[in-house]
């Protein structure tokens, strides 16, 4: 499938939902192909985040892949930087770089590093990988917009296990205190971290109450329902930052991966890859 042309966003129509659905499918197939080829990656978290990314890039964000430094672009910060399968498939689909870069994923000197580097790839807003970095940086981006009256919006996606990093709560205090209405935090709530459930590791619930207490408008949404995601993420800003808790399934889209923690950084053998490709249609 060829990469789509800019500019975005498309109007909110059934065509938009069809586009998001098509892109999400292409991105899942592309990410899993990258992971299979490299025999490296984090496909479980790629797939839990994929519908969120497809909705953002093909229904919500305003951007121009030919001008990645455009000052007024909406910002998307991928704080769960290990999910590069998802991010790179998305940026490729959005037109930031050609498809023939994808097979270089994690190969020597590839621009497609295991964790994203903004100096390598257009469309990457900041370098992430160590958890708990993207939300503070996104907070700074939103403060810059608040200072200058810029029209751009800032979206940041964290994992849910990632919320255990204390730096997120420093950022939450700052964003809530400054009423950063141009900032949306999205939490990929797949309820699994690399070895076990979040609630058995260091529990996060009630996550919604926590963010309300920090001064956020909190919305829970099915993180695989494109229409619901679109309505939530494209909604006009309120008077404070927004936290979208996207309830997701790790490994979503492939039957044998769904809800299985070991697919956090598990990689498919040839038979598993073929099976997944049969399901991702």
């Amino acid at each position: 499938m060829p990469a789509p042309a800019a500019p975005m966003p498309a109007p909110l129509t059934n065509d938009t939902l069809a586009l998001i659905r098509d892109k999400a499918l292409w991105m899942r197939r592309t990410a899993f192909t990258m992971v299979h080829r490299a025999q490296l990656g984090h496909p479980g978290g790629d797939f839990s985040a994929m519908d969120i990314l497809a909705t953002l890039y093909f229904g919500v964000l305003t951007y121009d892949p030919k001008r990645p430094d455009w000052a007024e672009r909406d910002r998307f910060v991928m704080s769960k930087g290990h999910a590069t399968g998802a991010l790179y498939a998305t940026l490729c689909a959005a037109g930031y770089f050609p498809e023939d870069w994808l097979p270089t994923y994690m190969q020597p000197k590839s621009l497609l590093n295991g964790h994203p580097n903004r100096n390598y790839l257009p469309g990457v807003e900041t370098n992430t990988g160590p958890l708990g970095h993207g939300f503070p940086v996104a907070t700074g981006i939103a403060i810059a917009g608040q200072l200058t009256g810029a029209s751009y919006r800032t979206f940041v996606l964290t994992g849910d296990g990632e919320q255990q990093e204390g730096s997120n709560w420093e950022a939450a205090m700052v964003a809530g205190h400054r009423k950063l209405k141009n900032l949306t935090l999205i939490i990929d709530r797949n309820r699994l971290q690399q070895g076990a459930g979040t609630e058995e590791t260091s529990g996060l619930d009630p996550l919604d109450d926590k963010y309300r207490a920090f001064g956020f408008d909190v919305v829970e949404v099915n993180g695989h329902d494109h229409a619901a995601l679109l309505a939530t993420l494209a909604a006009p800003p309120g008077d404070r930052p927004r936290c979208v808790i996207a309830n997701t399934i790790k490994g979503k889209g492939v039957s044998f991966m769904e809800g299985v923690a070991s697919w956090h950084h598990g990689v498919p053998n040839d038979a598993q890859f073929d099976q997944a490709m049969k399901e991702l249609v």
Binding site: A71, R75, N117, R118, N119, E125, T126, N127, T128, G129, P130, G132, H133, F135, P136, V137, A138, T139, G140, I141, A142, I143, A144, G145, L147, T148, A150, G166, S167, E170, A171, M173, V174, H177
Partner: protein
């Protein structure tokens, strides 16, 4: 404050010139903002805050988000000066400094205040003597340690105009202006404070004037000691180090740990390229309770202590 050294005639607290310079730059360039971790007073930013209330971003006592916000502000086209006690901006937020600033290569200026052992009696938690070792290896990050008020102003101006990350290591300890004619600030280029070819004393920051005092003592003994103000720790002035090694003996002096900092950098260079005796003056590790003055004397960061180290280096000279 109890932990500030008394101000002798002609000595200046460089924080005053830091904030004067920043205010001048901020008046001319609306992109310049300051970010602090509640450290408005200790960073001397009260008047900046009065002049530019919206451009002083106080994130509260939260160093990780402070540095991350700096990166985000740079993404949004601002030029942030992120200012906090150097022990916290480096140690507490080290991964943010590495990943968000240096690795991401954002145009952020990190300003470490009250560095070294300026907090004397408050102890090792508040000393920042490891920062050189932590930050010197970080690709993209220019590390500058001004030696006096003039160099502080020049370094702040240069940092504001430089596209890329910078760590400015400032002190609250009063220092005299170095007596050097026709100075021109060049990052990455060591400044010759005293000419000499018997031994080279390589110093930075608050210790440069002490090294000059040591050279004056050595001169009275007929020893011609070169003194370099080595104010940029990354990148290193390798030409100056090569020329220093040619004198056959080197002393390094820093208000920092002798492990991994300026002394470590010089030892790395000489071991790899031109082995000569290197005597390192600085601190061995966590320090006992004591005032700044007492700690400086105890560990030989005095003209006499540095001169003694030079004599030791000369005795080892082949």
């Amino acid at each position: 404050m109890a932990h500030a050294a008394p101000t002798a005639a002609g000595f200046q607290d460089c924080r005053n010139i830091w904030v004067q310079t920043l205010e001048q730059l901020a008046e001319a360039d609306p992109r310049i903002v300051a970010v602090v971790n509640d450290s408005v007073g200790s960073s001397k930013l009260n008047s900046f805050q009065k002049k530019f209330p919206d451009r002083l971003i106080n994130v509260g006592i939260a160093e990780q988000v402070m540095v991350g916000v700096g990166a985000g502000l740079a993404n949004g086209g601002r030029i942030p000066f992120v200012s906090a006690a150097s022990c916290f901006i480096t140690g507490r937020a080290l991964e943010q400094v590495k990943a968000d600033i240096a690795y991401a290569n954002f145009n952020v200026k990190l300003v470490g205040q009250s560095s070294g052992i300026a907090y004397g009696e408050l102890g090792a938690t508040h000393h920042s003597i490891e920062d050189f070792a932590w930050l010197r290896p970080l690709t993209n990050l220019t590390v500058i340690v001004p030696a006096d008020a003039w160099e502080t102003a020049e370094a702040v101006k240069w940092a504001a105009g430089h596209e890329g990350p910078v760590y400015l290591r400032l002190s609250r300890m009063p220092v005299p202006d170095l007596d050097i004619p026709n100075r021109r600030f060049q990052p990455g280029v060591a400044e010759t404070v005293r000419q000499g070819s018997d031994v080279t004393i390589i110093a930075c920051g608050t210790t440069v004037h002490l090294a000059a005092g040591a050279a004056d003592r050595l001169a009275a003994e007929g020893i011609a000691a070169r003194v370099l103000n080595f104010s940029t720790l990354n990148p290193l002035d390798e030409q100056a180090l090569n020329d220093a090694a040619a004198t056959g003996a080197i002393v390094t002096v820093e208000e920092a740990s002798v492990r991994g900092g300026l002394g470590g950098a010089v030892a790395e260079f000489t071991a790899a390229h031109r082995p000569v005796p290197v005597e390192r003056v600085g601190f061995p590790g966590f320090l006992p309770t004591g005032s700044v003055d007492w700690l400086f004397k105890e560990y030989g960061l005095t003209p006499e202590g540095i001169a003694a180290a030079a004599r030791r280096a000369l005795a080892r000279k082949g």
